[in-house]
């Protein structure tokens, strides 16, 4: 018996989502009285970080076995790793890759899948995993009855714990067969920070009155090391790129801090951001529904508040260094 976690490096680095999933897998292994193995599908210069969060063994997929993203090949690689490690629980991050592969792996292994888990299972009677439902408005407690189980962990919902261990590294060449999907091109967005992985996000909406007024939003975000986001109307009218759109139809994000400027807080927008740990709302309208979901609020004109905030942040930074 063991716990297996799927990881896929980005730019030859183990991603934040993968570290969270690995830490979750290692905690789960402890709970079940076993060890956790990480399957690393791709080159990573920093695979040892997986050992530091409690992974005892790394299966490093050799280059060439899987040169590009294809769910048929990757799910076969996971299946072979599961058999090799006698894994009974397989953990993914519920990110772009996890959403693509975890369902295939679950169907292949006849395993129950909990997609979007937010905490470790309750094993006091059975195996019950809490997951986010209704676009973040509630949680469901899901009992998994199959012998082999698959869990995909919602990003930024689990605190990583450094255990300070080291993992042994074994090279792994799974038999993956032919790819049905060929990757033709990868287009990176120009954003400096990936919105779905950012801890801090500064977002703005129609209250900014025009695309030429985003200077202050970008300045505040750059100063804070935050990613920028926007509401749907602003993306639809072309003031901001579509990849910045957060909400029901755009991206769902769960940063530690979400600062919303000039966004009223329609239910569709909230559905994409209500998993944020702390929400700050800046709006001229004291009755804006977003204030009901906020932790901190400023009622005021963004054009006056933002320059003051930028100055205040510079002072805050200077006094906290």
């Amino acid at each position: 018996m063991s716990v297996l976690v799927y990881t896929e490096p980005h730019n030859e680095k183990i991603s934040k989502n993968a570290i969270e999933a690995a830490s979750y897998a290692s905690k789960l292994a402890t709970l079940l009285g076993t060890t956790a193995t990480a399957l690393v599908c791709g080159e990573a210069g920093d695979a040892e970080t997986l050992g530091q969060v409690g992974i005892s063994k790394i299966l490093q997929v050799t280059s060439g076995s899987i040169s590009q993203f294809d769910t048929q090949k990757l799910s076969k690689a996971v299946q072979e790793a599961v058999q090799k490690e006698k894994a009974t629980v397989i953990v993914f991050s519920h990110d772009f890759s996890g959403k693509a592969i975890a369902p295939r792996v679950a169907a292949k292994l006849g395993a129950g899948l909990v997609a979007g888990a937010v905490s470790l299972p309750d094993t006091s009677s059975g195996f019950i995993v809490k997951k986010a439902v209704f676009s973040g408005k509630a949680f469901a407690h899901v009992s998994v009855t199959s012998e082999v189980k698959v869990i995909s962990l919602l990003p930024n919902s689990f605190s990583v714990e450094k255990t300070g261990g080291t993992a042994s590294i074994e090279s792994f060449s799974p038999e993956t067969g032919k790819a049905g999907v060929t990757v033709k091109e990868i287009r990176k967005e120009s954003a400096k920070l990936s919105l779905t992985e950012a801890d801090l996000v500064v977002s703005a909406g129609r209250g900014m009155k025009g695309p030429e007024n985003w200077g202050n939003i970008e300045e505040l975000a750059t100063l804070m090391g935050a990613a920028t986001a926007c509401s749907r109307p602003v993306a639809d009218i072309g003031w901001r790129p579509h990849h910045e759109h957060v909400g029901q139809t755009g991206l769902a994000i769960r940063p530690n801090l979400y600062i919303a400027v000039g966004i009223s807080g329609a239910i569709q927008h909230l559905a994409g951001v209500n998993g944020s740990k702390v929400i700050v709302v800046i709006n001229t309208d004291a009755e804006a529904p977003f204030f009901k979901a906020a932790d901190y609020g400023i009622v005021g004109d963004a054009f006056q508040v933002l320059p003051k905030l930028i100055e205040a942040y510079k002072q805050f930074k200077a006094s906290n260094n």
């Binding site: 980005h10 993203f69 294809d70 769910t71 048929q72 990110d95 772009f96 959403k99 693509a100 975890a102 295939r104 679950a106 169907a107 006849g110 395993a111 899948l113 997609a115 019950i128 439902v133 209704f134 676009s135 408005k137 509630a138 407690h141 899901v142 009992s143 009855t145 199959s146 049905g180 999907v181 990757v183 033709k184 287009r187 990176k188 967005e189 779905t196 801090l200 579509h242 759109h245 029901q248 139809t249 801090l257 239910i267 569709q268 559905a271 209500n274 740990k277 700050v280 204030f291 932790d295 901190y296 609020g297 400023i298 009622v299 006056q304 508040v305 003051k308 905030l309 205040a312 805050f316």
Partner: protein, 246 residues
Amino acid sequence: MKLLVCISKAPDTTSKISFTENNTKFNEAGVQYIINPYDEWYALVRALELKETLGGTVTTITVGKADNEPTIRKALAIGADDAVRIDAEASDALAVAKQIADYVKNNSYDIIFCGKETIDYNGSQVGGMIAELLDLSYVSLASKLEVNGNTATLERDIQGGKEVVETNIPFVVSCAKGMAEARIPNMRGIMAARTKPLQVLPGSEAPKLTEIVAYSLLPEKAGCKFIDAENPGELFQLLHNEAKVI
């Protein structure tokens, strides 16, 4: 082309979410059901667009009881040619995927469309599972899809960007924003939908590997703390000392 679109119902986005029977059942009182928006706006409409340019048929498939029929009729009003309802409880993603895969095995299709997830259970599971059960290619979270002969070119969302991929027909795709624009059914469509074929088929044997045993609501926010707009710098002290996020 034979196109199949998986449709499920979901509570309207603005529905109040609450639970009954000691927090074990979703409270349906007063809840308006709609076609899951990703199934409707992106999957169904893109399938209709392909049919309009390349010819063929668009069939919708739903796993669930008769209470799904109003949303199925709406999909027909938007333009699907016919609909299939597998008369089984949509209890678990793998069970739903198995019902659909079993149907497809007996009725081959060129492209099987799903929405990227449902807005109630947010699983993003059924498309990948159907693909696995049928041993087909799967392109997840696609925002573009063009078909050229036997080959399709798709754009899918990945970490920090997009990936352009190619695959051969048949395949399974889950559809995200960018695929198509929502369509509003017109009166002619609504009238025609009443008489379009809706076939009800019995469900096959399907495993039930997961079950929701309880629900809980997101903890209420303690309330919003307001900061003076004239002196907003206090915000960063609070975020640092109280909320500890910066």
